[in-house]
């Protein structure tokens, strides 16, 4: 290459894209270093992001309460689910606000405020609305967001069997448009 450069002014050599020794060495050393670092770091990164890639199986239905106890006025009912959290298994108690609409359809709302995740309650301020204690978010009986919250309350899947109400996994609210 250096020879070409010396005589380059007389007659133009065919332009060859040759790699200099320095370039070759830095690519080789850089590549080897990258390979070795990758070999060490990639397993650790995969290890760290594992929770993102774990498939969560949909929860099964849990028996909550007799159908006859459901009124038009929302009531809070507690139920326990089995929860596996890494190496820790527990049976936490969850709650659902269950009521009947005007057509007699039973539906269950999640008590988790869609603003920032506090726990809402029915008719706390005597306005026949769901109220959130944290930032005064309000929802209608159907879970429609009136103020503060950007989204309506989530709904539980509901199943009626042998006169009992069962709730399943959480879904987005289907009662408000």
């Amino acid at each position: 290459m250096s020879k070409h450069e010396q005589h380059g002014s007389n007659h133009k050599p065919a332009e060859r894209k040759e790699m200099s020794r320095r370039q070759f060495l830095s690519y080789t050393l850089g590549g080897t270093t990258a390979f070795m670092m990758g070999g060490a770091v990639l397993p650790m990164v995969r290890f760290a992001v594992d929770p993102l890639l774990v498939k969560n199986e949909s929860s099964s239905f849990v028996k909550v309460v007799e159908e006859s106890k459901i009124t038009n006025e929302p009531q809070e009912f507690k139920f326990t689910i089995h929860q596996v959290d890494g190496w820790y298994e527990s049976d936490p108690e969850l709650s659902a606000w269950i009521s009947k609409d005007d057509n007699g359809t039973i539906f269950a709302l999640s008590p988790v405020c869609k603003h920032l995740g506090c726990t809402i309650g029915w008719n706390v301020k005597g306005k026949n609305e769901y109220d959130c204690p944290c930032h005064d978010a309000r929802y209608t009986k159907d879970g429609k967001n009136i103020t503060v919250s950007p989204k309506p309350l989530d709904e539980y899947e509901v199943k009626l069997e042998n006169g009992f109400v069962y709730v399943g996994s959480i879904k987005a609210n289907t009662r408000v448009g």
């Binding site: 397993p43 190496w87 820790y88």
Partner: protein, 223 residues
């Protein structure tokens, strides 16, 4: 792309001398395995450092899952090793790397000893190296308890009882290490704290001193 960003920063902060000073120095012929193959013995220090970096990295990742608590420690280690993707590998790196650090450090010490590199003017670096050696042993000892299995329990018990045989001070040392009178909840948390905060902090400081001194004094001459 990279070059443009580098130049932009370099224009403002003049960073080239910084890394030049760290990376750009001549390797004398007698320590270069390309000239004399037997010079590979000069690589053990660098290998020790390389494995130490792997230990620090894999340890950081392990603490994403590990809990230093007598009820959950074993379960969390079991979980991270068998349920989390690449858990076996990441824990394996830390587990086998720990032994490898000791081996490499020992070989490095032997090289320094037999080439007489510890002699004047490098005595201080030998002393710092010895401190690093004891810090590494401490890391190995405290890390051994963390999985909280039978081996961990009895190894710690034996280790602390050896420490307890020190004249006069022994019982106090043992009580300090146990955090009480038994290998239990308090032992586990304090070993965890020593393993992930105190000793790594001391180790990094000592390594910095080790490297600054060798750059200041240069590597010792050929035999």
């Amino acid at each position: 792309m990279f070059k443009t960003i580098y130049n932009w920063v370099d224009e403002r902060l003049d960073i080239t001398p910084l890394w030049r000073d760290v990376a750009d120095h001549e390797v004398p012929e007698h320590v270069n395995p390309a000239h004399h193959f037997s010079a590979f013995v000069y690589c053990f220090g660098g290998l020790t450092f390389f494995i130490t970096v792997i230990q620090i990295l894999s340890g950081m990742f392990l603490t994403m899952y590990y809990v230093p608590d007598i009820l959950n420690a074993y379960a969390s280690v079991d979980y991270l090793q068998h349920k989390v993707a690449f858990g076996q590998i990441v824990r394996g790196m830390h587990h086998f790397g720990a032994s490898l650090v000791i081996v490499m450090m020992f070989l490095h010490t032997l090289r320094v000893f037999f080439t007489g590199s510890y002699k004047a003017p490098r005595e201080m670096n030998w002393v710092v190296g010895m401190l690093i050696f004891f810090i590494m042993l401490g890391l190995g000892f405290t890390g051994y308890l963390l999985p909280w299995d039978n081996k961990a329990y009895f190894a710690t018990k034996v280790g602390v009882e050896i420490a307890a045989s020190v004249p006069y001070l022994g019982p106090y040392i043992a009580q300090f290490l146990y955090g009480g009178d038994i290998v239990g909840a308090q032992t586990l948390t304090r070993f965890f704290a020593i393993h992930v905060f105190f000793l790594p902090g001391a180790l990094i400081a000592m390594l910095a001193a080790h490297f600054i001194m060798i750059r200041r004094q240069g590597i010792s001459g050929p035999l």
